[in-house]
């Protein structure tokens, strides 16, 4: 009975050890990506099998795009604040509100054009098949039909 119990416990420990080893070994690349300086770029390199040279170029494009994106964020925030002020207490659509809404639409179009231009530049840096896959994926994420409508009231 004692020998049987020892074998029973040994089997359970072996199973737990096997589970832990394979889990930690298989999730190591994902953990490394999460720990990297820019996890989203590490993911991009892994997902689209970029070579070091391609990744360097993509990283440069990324870094060049971010200041434009931040500037666009500030402009959008300022325009939204202006629109909210105009809307507060308004009971009619005034010419100022109309102009603010037009400006907000123009900003959105500018923003989407800027993003699309960046996505296309990035896709051209990748090997052709990966570039097409990247564009399909990113268009689905950033230009889906319910774009900007996911916020709950």
């Amino acid at each position: 009975m004692k020998r049987g119990l020892l074998i029973l416990v040994f089997g359970l420990i072996a199973a737990a050890a096997a589970y832990g080893c394979i889990y930690f070994a298989c999730t190591a690349p994902a953990r490394n990506m999460q720990r990297s300086e820019k996890p989203e770029l590490a993911w991009l390199k892994d997902e689209f099998n970029l070579s070091d040279a391609e990744f360097k170029r993509v990283s440069e494009l990324h870094s060049a795009y971010l200041p434009q994106c931040q500037e666009m964020c500030r402009t959008i925030d300022a325009q939204n604040t202006k629109l909210q002020k105009l809307l507060a207490g308004a009971t009619n659509v005034t010419p100022e509100i109309e102009a603010a809404l037009t400006e907000a639409s123009r900003l959105r179009a500018d923003c989407q054009t800027m993003m699309l231009r960046h996505f296309m530049q990035v896709s051209q840096t990748m090997p052709p098949d990966q570039g097409r896959r990247y564009l399909d994926w990113v268009k689905g994420k950033a230009f889906q039909p319910n774009y900007g409508m996911s916020e709950k009231p």
């Binding site: 009975m1 020998r3 049987g4 119990l5 074998i7 029973l8 040994f10 089997g11 359970l12 072996a14 199973a15 737990a16 050890a17 096997a18 589970y19 832990g20 080893c21 394979i22 889990y23 070994a25 298989c26 999730t27 690349p29 994902a30 990506m33 999460q34 996890p39 989203e40 770029l41 590490a42 993911w43 991009l44 892994d46 997902e47 990324h62 795009y65 971010l66 994106c69 666009m72 964020c73 959008i76 925030d77 959105r108 923003c111 993003m115 960046h118 996505f119 994926w137 990113v138 994420k141 950033a142 774009y147 900007g148």
Partner: protein, 112 residues
């Protein structure tokens, strides 16, 4: 067992002996009941614990059974670990992909 020579005396006495006392009432019925009870106990379904104890005590220590048992548990552990890791990787990749788009899209970028 080989009978001893002086056992002949005993055999003679036993042959001559006659029991004059009567059996208790329903003796035969009682004997049959005991036989049936013992027989039922032998054929009753064994408990889970007794099966496990029997398995651990007698079957598991056999080298072939022990090897098979450890191999099955190792396979189960490896398969479960791999499946769980696959699920975790998919989740992390999905999160990082979403993060990539959020970083680049001013309408999805988290504001401070």
């Amino acid at each position: 067992m080989k009978p001893e020579p002086n056992d002949e005396k005993l055999s003679k006495v036993l042959h001559e002996w006659k029991a004059d006392s009567s059996l208790p009432r329903r003796f035969q019925e009682g004997v049959w009941r005991q036989i049936e009870t013992a027989s039922a106990a032998c054929t009753a379904t064994p408990s889970v614990w007794s099966v496990c104890a029997h398995w651990i005590g007698t079957l598991l220590p056999r080298p072939a059974m022990a090897t098979a048992y450890v191999a099955v548990l190792l396979t189960l552990g490896l398969t479960a670990g791999w499946a769980q890791a696959h699920q975790t990787n998919e989740r992390v990749k999905g999160e990082l992909g979403d993060r990539y788009v959020r970083v680049l899209d001013p309408y999805q970028t988290p504001r401070n």
